[in-house]
Symmetry: C2
Subunit: 390 residues, 2 copies
Amino acid sequence: MKELFLLDPDLVFLNHGSFGACPREVMQEYQRWQMEMERNPVEFLGRRSAELLAHSRALLAKTLGANPENLVYLPNSTTGVNTVARSLNLQSGDEVLSTDHEYGACDNAWNFVCQRSGARYVPVEIPLPFEAAEFTRRVWAGVTPRTRVIFLSHITSTTGLIFPIAELCRRARDAGILTVIDGAHAPGHIPLVLNSLGADFYTGNCHKWLCAPKGSGFLHVLPQHHDKVHAAVVSWGYSASITGHTGFDAYTGATLLERRLQWQGTRDISAFLSVPQAIRFQAAHNWDRVRQRCHALAAQTLQRIGDMTGLSPVCRDDDFAQMVVIPMPPMNPQWLKDTLFDDYRIEIPVTSHRDRLFIRLSIQGYNTTADADALVKAVGEILESRKGNP
Amino acid sequence: MKELFLLDPDLVFLNHGSFGACPREVMQEYQRWQMEMERNPVEFLGRRSAELLAHSRALLAKTLGANPENLVYLPNSTTGVNTVARSLNLQSGDEVLSTDHEYGACDNAWNFVCQRSGARYVPVEIPLPFEAAEFTRRVWAGVTPRTRVIFLSHITSTTGLIFPIAELCRRARDAGILTVIDGAHAPGHIPLVLNSLGADFYTGNCHKWLCAPKGSGFLHVLPQHHDKVHAAVVSWGYSASITGHTGFDAYTGATLLERRLQWQGTRDISAFLSVPQAIRFQAAHNWDRVRQRCHALAAQTLQRIGDMTGLSPVCRDDDFAQMVVIPMPPMNPQWLKDTLFDDYRIEIPVTSHRDRLFIRLSIQGYNTTADADALVKAVGEILESRKGNP
């Protein structure tokens, strides 16, 4: 399957998780939209864009188990988290409950908003090794009468864990606490039915595990919250009508959510329009099978490297899908990263959580057992070369 | 020059102003960056992006008469205005002085921020016909002890006027009032030397008159204000370092302005990287001469249609460059727009200001006298068909 993607064939690319990778045919669709836009940018952006986006969103909604009218495209999950965090009108003393596994950029967004409002961002510790059965209890123990929001990754970035969030979404709803889920790594990676999950706000990326072009993400908002959400960039959709320019009223969309969030000034919307092609690509290649194969290869590689290091995994087989962290003995993380890339042409991130060091393995459809073998061999040589070193 | 662009050859495209149009070779550069990104997205976005963006910004800065360290790329001017408006920490009672010719999306952004803070957005009337010599006096008459910001378009959207803003920037600085300039239509259209203009905040688009790919804009911030500006999307740059992910610290940039505004989650930065190609394209085609020719054709077309309608222009020859509004007698604006497009394949916006109706003519390098002739002929037939109608 490697030849269906555009990755440098000289690389062992084991970092789908950071920025994704896009198949050739999806990139072709992306660039075809761009060329079509240039034939008449006014018609494309000013008159057709709302309809084109609605059409694209319909298939994404189906894939996510969502209603299209609760969904709007955004460049990425970081934008989604910022949008929601700024919209919630947090008050002094409010608490945003979270974990110590969240993505740093999103921690920054919450800290920024909390500092301005006098609210508190409260990450609870989720210790490693990860105990999925303990997750709900540990998070819920952090709830106080001041908890207004629970913010959780669906799949964590530095530790690759699938957080079992459904029960927390249920309890939070019953308690009148809002749930905001950072699903950056989830779409195309694990099964999603947003309608039954019931998170108040769920943001995700299409450019990671759905393999869409970069800059395609979404925000899903339950209907009762549409009127609470405001755009990071307030634009035409906030007008009752487009004043001074005739014939453009349609382009900001029809619903309140569309009108507020869809038009964010002139930008290339081709990535959003190419999401259906990415969904069709995965369907055409029997992606459920691909995912199973990838998970098995990731699990096997975790095991093989664990056998060499003697370090236990920090999670069970059910706790990850195509992305897993592999514990490494203490060493300089930058040296490890550089050695893997410079000496072995292996692109893999080195992550850390508290005092633990990992390599974070992503296995995507284009990866082969040869890629995994290359990693195992490289790690073996690195461990060997360091024998006796602390 | 038409064949150097990608516009539908069956169209008479007289609306460069709304979304620009991009030459084929600039689009090729844009798509070449996208394909290069896909060879190793981690290296491109995670390790090289800050350096690539700095390189691109250097040439843009030269073109704008700016220092690269005061400049950051954003998707568009609307984002720039939102970013600044949200950053200024407006207080109850503060006034944002503006005009009644501002772009509606930006009016919305200021109104949104003012409503939240208790500040007031105060547009002063700039009557038509436009009297450039009166502009400074009229705006300045609106200054009160509560004026904290003066917000002005450099070139207006619905009326195509070049506002002579330099004197106001000077006076505002002396009075301790901040200036925020919406230069959406200015770069590549009129000469800019941001360092001598001295506006505190200046935002502009590269995808309009510089002919760069859509979604390429910038924000220019004088050094003494860098620490005041916060991103619409708070991301990794707000961390002291990238926690949990080794080897990515460089990608948010080096300076405070870069760190806060440059990284906004994963997105396609190829439009930003293609701005130098757009600048080179214009330089290679002797764009000062192109601009002169375009201005002359716009002025001549204004005159020819004025001779038919008997309506005087609302500005003098010095008050516009390649975009000018042509007064039309009262009629249904949507009907006029539809007739020009459906019956004549002329893409031109119909705009209005208070009770005045206009067609807004843009002449760009790809336009010919035949395009102007087609417009004159169409307007003549439309006027003829309506004779006797009120």
